[in-house]
């Protein structure tokens, strides 16, 4: 899957995305729909800030005591008859999965949506030992047939239109299917029904794990997660080590935040709590249940004051829908399992590989929309700044930028030097100015001018006009109406008073 990364940088991949008209429209339309849905759902529910704060507190508390809660979960799950395993990294998780698949004599595995499984590139590994891996979420199934990666955490096939999907499914069916949503979904239902009943193993992710009872909770709309955890003989659940919440009562808060933030639903069509394998007298449910608890870089965030809150993430995708950059370039441009603002921070943090992934942190306008959207209040925009700082500190900053910054300091540090440079610039730009703007993509202006134009330096700069302005201003103040002057002075006095009392600040609350 990572092999799909043909272009090295976010910028190169974004160029590809920007060229694809349909993708751009689809991403904008979908994110808009999800964002409006969220807004409507949260407004209707009311007291949204109180719920966000509660969600954040529960997640903070659990992560701060993760050794206690994870251990409690594991012991309870074992007592329920689950085989619990631990994987430090991708290799260990894959090895465990393949071991289980071999012992189950599996020929095929049906999977419901799991971001962890995407992290592990499990399908490929399973196929290498001759086990067919079938994604059963409608969107995931489509992109699996296309051999692509998900482009959105909630709607993975956002970038495909119905004609492309009809082509893919027709190839699978062996006859031509019409580009009609109902017909296409109907074919998938029938096709995957057989797979569910045939497969020896069902594989799921895990939205939440309840420590006090050792249960795992799944949210979904299609029913495929219920299928894979009900029909096959063996169930494997892949779970990030941070998915824990203490109790079922805490699940009410997560169930209030997650569906509303993800799709604007009051609750997903199905929410399932699974506590161990089938009881001996039950006639369905798995005979054998495995939970693989995966670290894969997560624990690196523990105890890191700048990034520990990343582990609070409940994978709703609201930050993607809110992000102006994601909405413009789509998920594939991020070139990793997790896209959008959360991906921009999570990917380098999980990989602890700032040098390779640094450009993702730069693909952000730092506008803070992601933080506003986050149901558990993760300060993603702050983290993006921390990442950029770490990148520069680790010597992976951009050389051009460093030289630029040094030059800026040299010039700005001395006013006559600045005046000289501006005069030079006015002369120099004559070579590149066309109808009052600079459009050249030569040299340092290439990046900026690809999507916009640089204004030319004005004939008379602000600096040139300063003396005149200064005079006018002083005159103007003298002539100010007394009532206006009083009001201005009142404002200044009030501000000074507030600052003395430590109130206010500069509005960056």
């Amino acid at each position: 899957m990572a092999g799909a990364k043909t272009e090295a940088t976010v910028k190169a991949r974004a160029d590809l995305a920007l060229n694809d008209e349909f993708l751009r429209k689809a991403v904008r339309f979908t994110t808009e729909r999800l964002r409006n849905g969220k807004k409507k759902a949260t407004d209707e529910h009311g007291n949204w800030e109180d719920w966000r704060e509660r969600g954040k507190q529960i997640r903070l508390h659990t992560i701060a005591h993760l050794d206690y809660y994870l251990n409690l979960f594991v012991n309870n799950a074992r007592a329920n008859g689950v085989h619990v395993h631990f994987a430090t990294n991708t290799e260990e998780a894959v090895k465990l999965t393949l071991d289980i698949a071999e012992h189950a004599g599996a020929k095929s595995v049906v999977k419901s949506k799991s971001m962890v499984s995407e992290e592990l590139h499990l399908n490929h590994a399973l196929e290498s030992i001759g086990v067919e891996a079938v994604e059963t979420d409608l969107g995931e199934y489509i992109i699996q047939l296309a051999g692509e990666m998900p482009s959105h955490i909630v709607i993975p096939a956002i970038h495909k239109n119905r004609y492309q999907i009809a082509d893919l499914l027709s190839k699978e069916a062996g006859y031509t299917l019409p580009p009609d949503t109902t017909a296409l979904a109907g074919f998938v239902r029938k096709k995957l029904r057989e797979k569910f009943l045939d497969a020896e193993i069902g594989m799921t992710g895990c939205n939440f794990a309840i420590a006090e009872t050792g249960s795992m909770v799944l949210f979904e709309n299609e029913g495929n997660a219920r299928m894979v955890s009900t029909v096959p003989k063996t169930q494997i659940t892949l779970m990030g080590m941070e998915r824990i919440i203490p109790s079922w009562s805490d699940l009410e808060v997560m169930a209030t935040l997650l569906p509303r933030s993800a799709t604007g639903q009051k609750l997903t069509m199905y929410m399932s709590g699974i506590t161990g394998p089938r009881r001996s007298a039950d006639a369905d449910g798995p005979d054998e249940m495995h939970i693989i608890i995966i670290d894969n870089g997560r624990s690196l965030q523990l105890g890191d004051p700048e990034f520990q809150e990343l582990l609070n993430c409940i994978r709703c995708g609201a930050c993607l829908n809110a992000c102006p950059v994601y909405r413009h370039i789509g998920g594939h441009a991020y070139g990793s399992t997790y896209s959008g603002p959360i991906g921009a921070v999570l990917t380098p943090s999980l990989n602890k590989n700032i040098a390779e992934w640094d450009d993702i942190a730069n693909a952000s306008s730092l506008c803070g929309a992601c933080y506003e959207a986050c149901p558990v209040k993760i300060p993603l925009h702050d983290m993006l700044v921390y990442l950029r700082r770490r990148k520069v500190e680790s010597g992976n900053g951009s050389k051009m930028e460093s030289i630029g910054m040094q030059g800026f300091a040299t010039i700005m540090g001395n006013s006559s030097r600045l005046g000289g440079v501006l005069r030079l610039g006015k002369l120099g730009q004559k070579l590149v100015v066309r109808s009052g703007v600079i459009k050249t993509k030569l040299g340092p202006l290439k990046g900026w001018n690809t999507y916009r134009v640089t204004p030319s330096l004005p004939k008379e700069s602000f600096r040139d006009r300063w003396d005149t302005l200064d005079q006018e201003l002083k005159q103007g103040l003298k002539q100010m109406e007394p009532s206006m002057q009083n009001r201005m002075e009142e404002l200044v006095r009030k501000r000074e008073l507030d600052e003395k009392q430590g109130k206010g600040g500069h509005g960056h609350g």
Binding site: H65, D67, L138, R189, S249, Q265, K266, M271, T275
Partner: protein, 241 residues
């Protein structure tokens, strides 16, 4: 073979227990505290207090449940008695010419006498014969009939719990799902149902607890809503006095 499988699982468990200690010690050291073995004080457990005080009257609950369930494409009927439930099911089965019906094995459903009333359909009762592959019986069924253990008005959800006589497949695999909800089981908030699982404790929990809030759906193809992707596409909630 059985022995070697058991041995293999035991080996895995031994490895897992070693790894568990490493994992927990590593977490504790990264969090810079000694390993925690005692339950920490959790001041923010569950929903905010103002929410826990919120409760609707029975009429409001019925109205809200109905509105929510209809809004996602489900169907709701309010019926006066179990006799009315019986006629409702018989009528629907005839209307849609249901050939195979599967139901949970519960006394309330036995009392409906569907086996004799549904002349055009074959009715099977979950897990009444050890020789059957019950999942396949549920998969071929046109109708699945279940009784809700709980229901939640605020989210428009129904809760079904698994048991030897109550299959998870019955509410999942048939094309049409009929859920009978005794009205006194309809609560206002999700938390009122969830807290019962905390109170019951681990050992009392069934393997499967499922909240169902309407028909199976997907918007994965061009954001176009499709009903009945994997689970039942037609769902009737019958609120019974």
């Amino acid at each position: 073979m059985a022995d070697t499988h058991k041995q293999w699982l035991e080996e895995l468990e031994a490895e897992s227990k070693v790894k568990q200690e490493q994992f927990m010690n590593d977490i504790a050291s990264k969090l810079r505290h000694p390993r925690m073995y005692d339950k920490p004080n959790h001041p923010f457990r569950g929903a905010p207090d103002f929410w826990n005080a919120f409760e609707w009257s029975e009429e409001e609950r019925i109205q809200a449940f109905t509105d929510n369930f209809l809004s996602v494409g489900g169907h709701v009927a309010r019926l006066g008695s179990m006799d009315e439930v019986k006629s409702f099911i018989v009528q629907k089965a005839e209307e849609m010419s249901a050939k195979y019906v599967i139901r949970q094995n519960q006394p309330e459903l036995d009392a409906l006498g569907l086996e004799s009333a549904l002349t055009g359909s074959s009715v099977s009762v979950w897990n009444t014969d050890d020789e059957q592959y019950w999942r396949a019986r549920a998969a071929e069924a046109d109708f699945g009939i279940v009784i809700a253990d709980h229901a939640v008005a605020y989210t428009g959800s129904v809760t079904v719990l698994s048991a030897p006589n109550k299959g998870r497949s019955v509410s999942l695999l048939p094309t049409v799902l009929i859920i009978i909800i005794p009205i006194e089981r309809l609560k206002t908030r999700l938390g009122e149902v969830l807290v019962t699982f905390d109170e019951a404790g681990r050992e009392q929990l069934p393997a499967g607890i499922h909240f169902i809030s309407g028909p199976s759906r997907s918007s994965d193809i061009e954001n176009d809503l499709t009903i009945g992707v994997h689970g039942p596409g037609i769902v009737y909630a019958l609120l019974v006095e």
